[in-house]
């Protein structure tokens, strides 16, 4: 057990290290650097040389990578390309806002998804299941910018219940983002509920069809007791990993939703940084989001390991 946990931790660390190499190498290979982005048209001759000397860009790439990685390990992500602002302080409030959005969406979505998934799974192939599953396909596949536009149109423009965009700047207190956060949370909830419920449904169907549940049914164990005591604890274990993937996706990938609702999170910062070719900020965001992705998945794996005794043997180890 301890060996398996250590192995997972090591694999996670290797992945994060590889990510940092990919990010750094990617930015190295692409044409242009922080100085050409900052100086734009004037990026030539002495001016460019001076700027490169200032930022230490003429040193070998390997040295700069070590510098960058060592700094990042200590929480120092460098300064943005346009000058003096430390990236750590720029990213801090954005990260908090993205976490707030993710937390709200999870708090609303996960219970909804599990209840619907279990109901659909228990009533497999019944009318209720068809209803839930069809709605899930629709809400899962409709692009975020389409569902966001529809929600803004209905709840903001026509009914006037909630604001259609968030106007508060990034560093305002959390309370400033309500009630503007309601619609973005709704859009994200639509997407994630569908993903999680489909998985929970499949898992419930599988467990209910398994030999031990059939045996319990034949022995005359009351249905409720079978569902609550025998089936659900096993059926819901795989949900941990799907929820983890959802958390990782919420922290890093909700660029479109943040742009549509003008929400000042990491996603909008990503797109601004890429448009401005602010490479140090792009690198920092990529590293943070990728680490969060690896960390959350690691946590989910460890949690399933603790909760599921069957995974503790070496033969059941997942590659």
């Amino acid at each position: 057990m301890t060996r398996m946990i250590l192995r997972r931790l090591l694999l996670g660390a290797v992945t994060v290290w590889l990510v940092s190499v990919i990010i750094f190498a990617g930015v190295e290979i692409l044409p242009g650097d922080a100085c050409t982005a900052f100086l734009e048209r004037e990026a030539k001759g002495q001016l460019l040389a001076n700027c490169r000397a200032d930022l230490g860009l003429e040193r070998p790439a390997a040295l700069r990578y070590l510098d960058w990685a060592w700094g990042a390990l200590q929480g120092d992500l460098g300064v943005s390309a346009d000058g003096q602002e430390s990236i750590a302080s720029l990213v801090g409030s954005r990260l908090r806002n993205s976490a707030l959005l993710a937390a709200c969406a999870l708090a609303v979505g996960v219970p909804m998804a599990i209840v619907q998934g279990v109901v659909a799974g228990l009533r497999c192939d019944g009318p209720l299941d068809y209803g839930i599953s069809s709605l899930a396909i629709v809400s899962m596949t409709i692009p975020e910018f389409v569902s966001a536009t529809v929600l803004i149109l209905v709840f903001s423009v026509w009914l006037g219940w909630v604001p259609g965009i968030v106007v508060a700047p990034a560093d305002y207190p959390v309370s400033a983002f309500f009630p503007g956060i309601i619609l973005p949370v709704a859009v994200l909830t639509l997407l994630m509920v569908a993903h999680i419920l489909r998985m929970v449904r499949a898992s419930v169907i599988e467990v209910m069809a398994s030999d031990y549940v059939q045996m319990a049914l034949l022995r005359g164990v009351p249905y409720r007791r079978i569902v609550w005591k025998h089936a659900l604890p096993n059926a819901l274990l795989p949900a941990i990993n799907v929820v983890a993937l959802t958390v990782a996706w919420l922290l890093g990938g909700v660029v479109v939703v943040e742009v549509v609702f003008n929400y000042p999170g990491l996603g909008r910062m990503t797109i601004d940084a890429i448009s401005d070719r602010d490479l140090p900020v792009v690198q920092a965001i990529a590293l943070i989001v990728a680490s969060a992705y690896v960390g959350v998945n690691l946590l989910a794996d460890l949690l399933s390991l603790v909760l599921n005794p069957r995974l503790r043997t070496h033969t059941a180890r997942r590659a």
Binding site: L11, V14, T15, L18, V19, I22, I23, G26, L30, P31, G32, I137, V138, M140, T141, I142, P143, E144, F145, V146, T149, V150, L153, V157, H195, R198, M199, R201, A202, A209, S210, D211, Q214, P238, V242, L245, T246, A248, W249, G252, G253, V255, V256, V259, G267, T270, I271, I274, S275, R277, V282, I285, A286, V289, A290, Y293, V294, A319
Partner: protein
């Protein structure tokens, strides 16, 4: 649960490739999701092919006299902020996305699939290292990976197609590898080895036919996600270039005027959503017919 379920679909078998494909399609048409999805996708493909012959107007022709015009006999879906006919642009708006994803998806499937089968077959150190690299790529947000390349090299199809094909091929490696692991220990692979077949022969003649099911389901899912990614890029201003008619772009433009001209976003939204739903239904039906469990797949 031990009694064989007579109504459960059986993976189709046949002699020729064309016959097998036809049997798969016929089995899919028996699923409600299958015929609905296939008809949606087929309708979209036909429309995309024949739209240039059918459209009533020139897609880029502006009409200063008909800016944000309401739906009328002359313009059934109204006109946009430049006076262009929205019906025309909606009918043509999927062509760019279908061309890009129509080339990008098979490309992603081929390179990711072959590499996945290869690494599943050889295993060992190569497999360990490759899977860590795949993990690392998957942990980066998709939009960041795409945008960095697209912003640097431009939003032409010559950049978009290889970029999408590359990044969407990476998760395919995992799927192909897992599917290969299911069959690689079976007797017929051992037999092929004993007969002295090389790796290439085992990959192409023994493994590939046995992983086509999962790969086809994965391909349908990748197609829908690539379409979503392309449309999102267009919506954000990094995909199709104006004045090309494209649904993502049209929704992005129309959103600004939607309080006064709702019709500007309705057409492209219905078109885009119906195509993506159609592809997902096809993927679901394909998974049932080919007996692939894809409910636990992860997101990009």
């Amino acid at each position: 649960m031990t009694a064989p379920d007579a109504s459960a679909p059986v993976p189709p078998r046949g002699n020729s490739r064309a016959r097998r494909a036809w049997l798969v399609v016929r089995a899919m048409l028996r699923e409600p999701a299958g015929w609905f999805g296939l008809s949606l996708v087929a309708a979209h493909l036909l429309l995309a092919i024949f739209a240039p012959l059918l459209v009533p107007y020139n897609a880029t022709a502006m009409d200063a006299g008909a800016i944000l015009g309401e739906p009328s006999m002359a313009h059934p879906l109204g006109t946009d902020h430049l006076g262009r006919d929205i019906l025309t642009r909606t009918m043509l708006g999927g062509r760019e996305a279908l061309i890009v994803t129509g080339i990008g998806t098979p490309a992603a499937l081929v390179w990711g699939g072959l590499l996945g089968i290869f690494t599943g077959l050889v295993g060992g150190r190569f497999d360990e290292v490759l899977m860590r690299i795949v993990d690392a790529f998957l942990s980066l947000p998709w939009i960041l990976k795409l945008l960095v390349l697209v912003v640097t090299f431009g939003t032409t199809n010559a950049v978009l197609i290889p970029t999408l094909a590359f990044f969407f091929g990476i998760p395919v490696i995992r799927v192909a590898r897992a599917a290969t692991h299911e069959v690689v220990a079976r007797d017929f692979i051992q037999a092929a080895r004993a007969r002295g077949h090389g790796r290439a022969s085992i990959m192409m003649r023994e493994l590939l036919p046995n992983v086509t099911g999962p790969l086809m389901v994965e391909g349908a899912m990748r197609w829908s996600w690539m379409l979503l990614a392309f449309s999102s890029l267009s919506f954000l201003g990094f995909g199709a270039t104006p004045p090309t008619p494209d649904w993502g772009l049209m929704i992005s433009d129309g959103r600004l005027y939607m309080t006064v001209a709702l019709w500007g976003v309705l057409g492209p939204m219905v078109a885009l959503a119906s195509l993506i739903i159609g592809i997902n239904l096809v993927a679901d039906a394909l998974a049932i017919v080919m007996r692939v469990d894809h409910s636990r797949r992860d997101e990009i």
